[in-house]
């Protein structure tokens, strides 16, 4: 199997975040090449690459671009660097170790789509990463790579700015992100119209994830077909898998987009802590339906995971060993969504704390079997009933955990206690060295 590294290749090199180092490794050559191509041809190249959004939805990037209306200007690009889906920690490392790769990707996207202004919306908690981006952008401006003339020669202005959020999970949702960027609270918008048509300040807007854009220089340099060939079916390239929880070597692994989940956990991450067995795996960030141990021999490719009843989401793989309590885990997940619900839609605003409460009751030993049924009923009445995907994101873990580990939920109710006692988060809860690309943390 191919082990091509697109995104992590430069991580760990001395000064990898600096322009000189990026250029020494051929950086910005792809942008130069892109400028010699027709924008429409670039969009076609990205379509051919089968690049799909790495933020969560997995939508085809080239197709998303082609939804921009032909005749409305200005258009904007907003880069989603709000990385806050629990279990996801990849975009921060792209920014920390290779910010110019992202900037080059942004510039290519701008040229391909006739966009002159891009905003990088970065979550407020990433203060250090925001500083790194500011420094790299300033380097790129000083070197006249971006600014009034792209690469100092093309009569095409590209202005890229960093916009820091201030702590709200919901702002990773693209329309909430736009509201936030407009100086408002992050309330998702009704869709349609989609941001490609009515986006930032009412204008056509592309919203792409950091990892998605960072792939563009490679695609331009090597061609869409080469990128597609790294993957399978309708998904091209590699992905950054973020593995956390009860594995021996957690971290960020760049693997083909169709890497096998079991292999990722047992081989790449060195298996389970203490030689224990896998109990459950969340494959794509905490919103993704959980897989039980018998279901993990599966490709992580978007469509394959969809067929398996879950989703590839943001690439956040959270691993639970057999000693972990599923009720406790789900309670914490439910608390997250209750906390982060923006409050706009009633089913989500009212339903998420209700689910959290039922789970708290069960975990504390005060629950009954009827609470388990009510939990499922609650999740079903949130699913599909809200403006944005946060409602579904809160419902899907509940539906899947209860369905796949029902005995454990009923046992909590029958015994009026948590059978795992003090060890609900597992018998071995210690931090282990992480592997991030080729780096050790």
């Amino acid at each position: 199997m191919s082990e091509t590294r697109i995104l992590t290749a430069r991580w760990g090199k001395p000064g990898s975040a600096e322009l000189a180092s990026y250029r020494a490794d051929g950086g910005y050559r792809a942008l130069d090449k892109a400028l010699s191509m027709e924008p429409a041809a670039l969009v076609e190249e990205v379509k051919r690459s089968n690049l799909r959004g790495r933020g969560g939805a997995g939508f085809a990037t080239g197709l998303k671009w082609s939804f921009l209306p032909k005749d409305i200007r200005p258009r904007y690009l907003t880069v989603n660097a709000d990385e806050s889906e629990p279990g996801t920690f990849k975009d921060r490392y792209i920014i920390e170790h290779d910010p110019h790769q992202l900037i080059e990707g942004i510039a290519i996207c701008c040229w391909a789509n006739d966009i002159h202004r891009a905003y990088i919306y970065i979550r407020g908690e990433f203060a250090r990463q925001a500083r790194i981006l500011e420094t790299a952008l300033e380097e790129a401006r000083q070197a006249a790579i971006i600014g009034p003339k792209l690469m100092g020669k093309k009569d095409f202005e590209v202005d890229i700015q960093v916009h820091r959020g201030a702590g709200a999970y919901i702002c990773g949702e693209e329309s909430a992100l736009l509201e936030s960027l407009e100086g408002k609270k992050g309330y998702p918008r009704l869709k349609p119209p989609f941001p490609a048509v009515v986006g930032l300040w009412g204008k056509p807007t592309i919203i792409n994830n950091v990892e998605t854009l960072a792939n563009l220089p490679w695609i331009v340099e090597h061609g869409g077909e080469a990128f597609a060939a790294l993957g399978t079916g309708k998904s091209g390239g590699t992905r950054l898998y973020c593995v956390s929880g009860h594995v021996n070597r957690p971290g960020v692994y760049e693997k083909p987009v169709h890497q096998n989940l079991k292999r990722l956990i047992l081989e790449d991450c060195g298996g389970i802590v203490g030689g224990r067995k896998v109990k459950a795996v969340i494959p794509g960030g905490s919103s993704a339906p959980v897989l039980s141990a018998s279901e993990i021999d599966v490709s992580l490719e978007f469509d394959a995971l969809k067929a398996a009843g879950t989703m590839a989401g943001s690439g956040g793989v959270i691993v639970f060993d057999e000693s972990a309590c599923m009720v406790r885990a789900l309670h914490r997940i439910a608390r997250f969504y209750a906390e982060e619900s923006c409050g706009q839609c009633t089913p989500c605003r009212e339903g998420t704390p209700w689910m959290e409460g039922l789970l708290e009751k069960l975990e504390a030993g005060h629950g009954q079997a009827s609470d388990v049924a009510r939990l499922e009923q609650m999740a079903n009445s949130i699913m599909g009933m809200t403006i944005c995907a946060l409602g579904d994101a809160a419902a899907m873990p509940v539906q899947s955990f209860v369905k796949k580990f029902k005995d454990e939920f009923l046992q909590h109710a029958a015994e009026h206690r948590c059978p795992f006692g003090e060890h609900g988060w597992g018998l071995e809860q210690s931090s282990r060295p992480a592997r991030v690309g080729e780096l050790s943390y």
Binding site: G124, G183, W201, S244, Q429, S431
Partner: protein, 171 residues
């Protein structure tokens, strides 16, 4: 820009700090198109929090007036986002993640330890005004969990000992 409320707001704040606010805000506003100054509201509130300590009503009014948005809008934004303080925090803000990946690697014990050691509940400030302790959601540090922010700087792969050492360095 010059509504009575805004003038009053600016008047009740230290003059030199308001001038500093205006100077720095001018640079932030340039990041957005001229007719889209309102987009600088989150950066303006962050700047206000940095300069004045927290987002008191006067500070919110100042930011709102300078950007031409209503005071209600500033209040809405100041209270929606988790990183904004509408009441004065301690000299240091310690924010610990207790989400799933952190708990799987020991965050629960550390979180209990933090509360016991500081003698505060989540959201409270120590009696000497030194530290405000907050529980936060996923910090994007799940591979190097458990994690916490201290005054917006990230600390990872925490242990009880490491946390004690970090707290010991805070004045």
């Amino acid at each position: 820009m010059s509504s009575p409320k805004a003038v009053a707001a600016a008047d009740s704040l230290p003059r030199e700090k308001v001038e500093q606010f205006d100077r720095q805000l001018a640079a932030l506003v340039r990041r957005y198109p001229e007719d889209r100054r309102a987009s600088a509201l989150i950066p303006a509130l962050r700047l206000g929090q940095e300069l004045f300590g927290h987002l008191a009503p006067e500070v919110q009014l100042l930011a709102a007036a300078r950007l031409g948005v209503t005071p209600a809008r500033a209040d809405e934004v100041a209270t929606f986002y988790q990183m904004f303080h509408t009441r004065p925090p301690g000299r240091h803000v310690v924010e610990m993640c207790t989400n799933v990946s952190c708990c799987l690697t020991g965050a629960e014990q550390i979180w209990t330890h933090l509360q016991r050691k500081l003698g505060v509940k989540p959201g409270e400030t120590t009696a000497d005004g030194r530290i405000t302790l907050r529980e936060v959601e996923c910090l994007g540090s799940c591979g190097t969990a458990p994690a916490m922010l201290v005054d917006e700087e990230m600390y990872e792969r925490l242990t009880v000992e490491k946390v004690d050492e970090i707290l010991g360095r805070l004045e």
